[in-house]
Symmetry: C2
Subunit: 223 residues, 2 copies
DNA sequence: TTATTTATGTATCGAGCACTACACAACCAA
DNA sequence: TTGGTTGTGTAGTGCTCGATACATAAATAA
């Protein structure tokens, strides 16, 4: 029925036909995200959403499709927010990147300016009655996050800042576990300080380059 | 209205008045527990429960009160099951106890004979719309579990198998985080093998007694 | 037997759910 | 203006939710 046209830089529809929307779509989406984040998917009702967004049901449905599509957009928005706030890929070493990510998450999970915990983790647990397609999307995103860690560690091995022979998959699993656990701890009222202490502990696992070894690429080190 | 008389060994009510119950209460509770474990609290409907328990709504309400009370009994039953299956308190050292607990959980969380993940963790995330009293009970149980770990570590310090000066609270937080994370990983399809690898990593954090030091009580060691 | 007590099956209850039909309002093109 | 198009507010739709009213069944107590 409706084409999901992305209104990106080029070729924004030049002329709006019909009555213009009377609310800020992005602001409404942000409000919806906050509710989903706080209550999860199933426990959030349409009336919860319309109240928070300041619109009526028909406006919600015409702008976002249905509850599931709105949720998917909220997830997307959440992930973009996270990506913008924590450019951990800028760190030169794998260890630095993971430490930065964990420390950022520890701070943000306990932040009081938004719901506690990670929206993705909350979504994971509150979508057991959602459609299989939605569950599949969520599962894929979680696996992608874990794989992101794994690839960063693998890059570290290639670049020589992580010892060769390190099991990148197992290490990624470990830090994924830590991240998921911290999210639940935050929901349960853990403080920023407490979470950072756990991060400190978790970083002790990270394999160190034997003392005296170069931190350059393997090829360089072998030369 | 109704006295919650525990029909324990002594003084079981000698004569049942009125029509006797036509179903096995324990079996029905076990069936309900399985459903709550799989779907969480909110996503489980009364009809889900009555179907799994093989009874009609009035029987459910007369035997268990309401959905929340049934859930509380299911939680209780779940925790007893866990306590019986993993007597980790029998381990002589704190490290051994925690390692045994984590390994048991890693195996059990990925077990296919019952829903994956820990029922308490699932409950934590799927009770955002439950009554505040239920949420308080769940929160207390989670804090109690964390405190259990902390006290076991503290005992290890007293008995000399954990280095003096160890921050028992921070260490308990760390292993709580691991346990919570493993539960989510298991829900996401993590294998027993993968979880055990994470346990292996997590145990490397545990503070070791300096080499050559005695493992006896501090008093003995000081002598 | 009759009275009392308790459990069960049928058949709902009112409330809230996700979602929408419909009339109207607000903008464009002509 | 007139017609076409699209968003908005009112007022619902059918459905499922948690929980029950009620008549009856099955036990004990007298």
């Amino acid at each position: 029925m409706k084409k999901a046209v992305v209104p990106s830089e080029a070729a924004k529809p030049r002329k709006a036909r019909g009555r213009p929307r009377s609310f800020d779509r992005d602001a409404a989406l942000a409000a919806a995200m906050e509710v989903f984040w706080r209550k999860g998917f199933e426990a959030t009702s349409i009336s919860d959403l319309t109240e928070a967004m300041g619109i009526n049901p028909p406006s919600l449905y015409s702008a976002f499709g249905d509850k599931e599509h709105l949720f998917l957009e909220a997830i997307e928005s959440y992930q973009n927010r996270r990506g913008d706030s924590c450019p951990y890929e800028a760190e030169p070493t794998a260890r630095g990147a993971i430490e930065r990510l964990l420390e950022y998450m520890a701070s943000d999970l306990a932040e009081s300016s938004h719901p506690r915990g990670c929206m993705m983790m909350i979504a994971a647990a509150t979508s057991t009655n959602a459609s299989t397609s939605l569950q599949k999307v969520l599962s894929q995103k979680r696996l992608a996050a874990r794989d992101h860690l794994r690839l960063r560690i693998k890059r570290g091995i290639d670049e020589g800042d992580v010892p060769a022979g390190t099991d990148a998959g197992a290490l990624a699993d470990f830090y994924s576990t830590i991240l998921m656990g911290m999210s639940l701890q935050a929901r349960d009222g853990a403080t920023r300080k407490g979470l950072l202490a756990t991060v400190q502990q978790a970083m002790r696992i990270f394999p160190a380059i034997p003392k005296g070894a170069t931190r350059k690429r393997r090829e360089t080190a072998a030369a």
